[in-house]
């Protein structure tokens, strides 16, 4: 399985996506810093504690990587069906379920790792920024850091799975555009806030969506051996 994943990453030049992710992180960091400065001026509240700041960062990162996951799905899975190169892949003496599972694992693990890395990078960047600007007055303690890290990892786990939901839409007619477009709906669902309340903070929502993502992944490989690949 590891070899299949390695081949997928080689085939689709994963390096390009890592570079894109780094750029996205820098942009998010700049955005967070800009917002926090603006908040200081307006005295509107989101950046009053580290907990809130990290939550804003996590939301932005989540939104970004759900779309990122959809782009990866569209390249690794949908494009293979659309360009018919999947026929080449399915003529190898390798279990088809494994081939598709390897692709989905690459997407999910990339999302998981990128989500955590982005949170750490942007969080650290913001902490540094805060040293100079003192937007958040409270000191950063071990407890705050540990709690934030725990929340980030849990959230990233959920994101990595719910990022697979757009696959369901994309596979309907092998459309990469539909995959990415549907990811915006997922983002709208998991990243919205209204007066500081987010749907995502109800624990059942991320868990439910993560299970839905896992179900979509399972559905896509369940019958793959028995269907006509392309008519």
């Amino acid at each position: 399985m590891f070899k299949l994943m390695r081949l997928e990453m080689r085939k689709f030049r994963i390096g390009t996506y890592i570079r894109a992710a780094v750029i996205a992180n820098v942009v998010i960091l700049a955005l967070v810093c800009a917002i926090s400065l603006n908040e200081e001026i307006t005295q509107d509240v989101p950046f009053t504690s580290y907990g809130m700041a990290f939550s804003v960062i996590d939301t932005l990162v989540r939104g970004t990587y759900v779309v990122f996951a959809a782009v990866l799905l569209s390249r690794l899975v949908i494009d293979e069906f659309r360009s018919k190169s999947i026929t080449v892949l399915f003529m190898y003496p390798i279990n088809r379920k494994k081939l598709i599972a390897a692709k989905l694992l690459v997407v999910a693990l990339f999302t998981l790792a990128a989500d955590i890395a982005a949170n750490l990078f942007i969080g650290a960047g913001f902490l540094l920024f805060n040293q100079f600007t003192d937007i958040i007055a409270e000191p950063i303690t071990g407890a705050i850091a540990a709690h934030s890290l725990f929340v980030t990892v849990m959230s990233a786990l959920a994101t990595s799975l719910l990022g697979l939901i757009p696959l369901y839409i994309g596979m309907r007619n092998y459309s990469g555009a539909a995959t990415v477009a549907s990811s915006f709906f997922v983002v709208a669902l998991v990243c919205q806030t209204a007066d500081g309340f987010t749907l995502y903070s109800i624990i059942a929502v991320p868990i439910g969506l993560a299970l839905l993502g896992a179900a979509v992944a399972y559905m896509s490989i369940r019958n793959i051996e028995h269907i006509d690949v392309l008519k």
């Binding site: 190169s85 026929t87 399915f90 003529m91 190898y92 390798i94 006509d228 690949v229």
Partner: protein, 306 residues
Amino acid sequence: MSVVRTKQLTRVYKGKEVVSNVNMNVGQGEIYGMLGPNGAGKTTVMKMLTNLIKPTAGEIELFGERLTDTSYRQLGRMGTIIENPIFYDKLTARDNLELHCEYLGYPNKMAIDEALELVNLRKVDGKLVKEFSLGMKQRLGIARAITAKPELLILDEPINGLDPLGMKELRDLFKMLSKQYGITIIISSHMLGEIELIADTIAVMNDGKLLQEVSMDHIAKQTSEYIEITTGECSKAAYVLENHLHISNVRVTDEGQIRIYDCPIPQSELMKALVLHDVAIEAVHKKKGSLEDYFLSIVNGGVVVV
């Protein structure tokens, strides 16, 4: 031993039988040419042989074992091009072949050079596939199919998009692979001339049905020499030939020509007899039947036996 055998292979698509009760028998080491017009069902059969689509009825045996949905091992013994050769366009030709070997678990990297050399693409192996012409992609597809030295090659219209010289090179390559390495090759085409030049056995398909599976040796006998007489009085001429000269191997074509196979008497005597019976003759030719005639006679029933 049969490398490929199908029994009553049938595929229904949208209520129509696109492949209907096909019984194929492909022997070890032979070049098996599938011949038929577009839409005859050749590609569908090939897709079923490679497990890309599933038969509605009937069964397939590959290398003596029944092909099932999970027959992955058998796939590893084949090299294929189905429809147009498909590659990862943003990678180079060599990258594509390296990936192919990795997926097959084929360790010999030298084989990539050999395969590229055989199809004359050695010099452009570092080029991205998206910059390739259709002909080059066809060649690269063949290179990929033969890299890992498969036992069976399934090639769907592999000579499409090639110039005449390229066609000849590939023809020689297929013959070499068959003779030297004992690779069994199933090749489809709608170009009679090409199939005629390489196949050992020909399967004629039309409208989803396998009309005939016949060896080239047999066809060679069938398409022997004949005398063709063009006349406006076909039935009169046929009557004379049959009743006065006692020649039975006579056919009348749709175009109003008479063909006499295995003529037992000299051509001059034939002419004399016809003229004496007042048959107006426009032209007489001595001809050798081609596969085209044979093919048309099977597909369209274009030749009528008197």
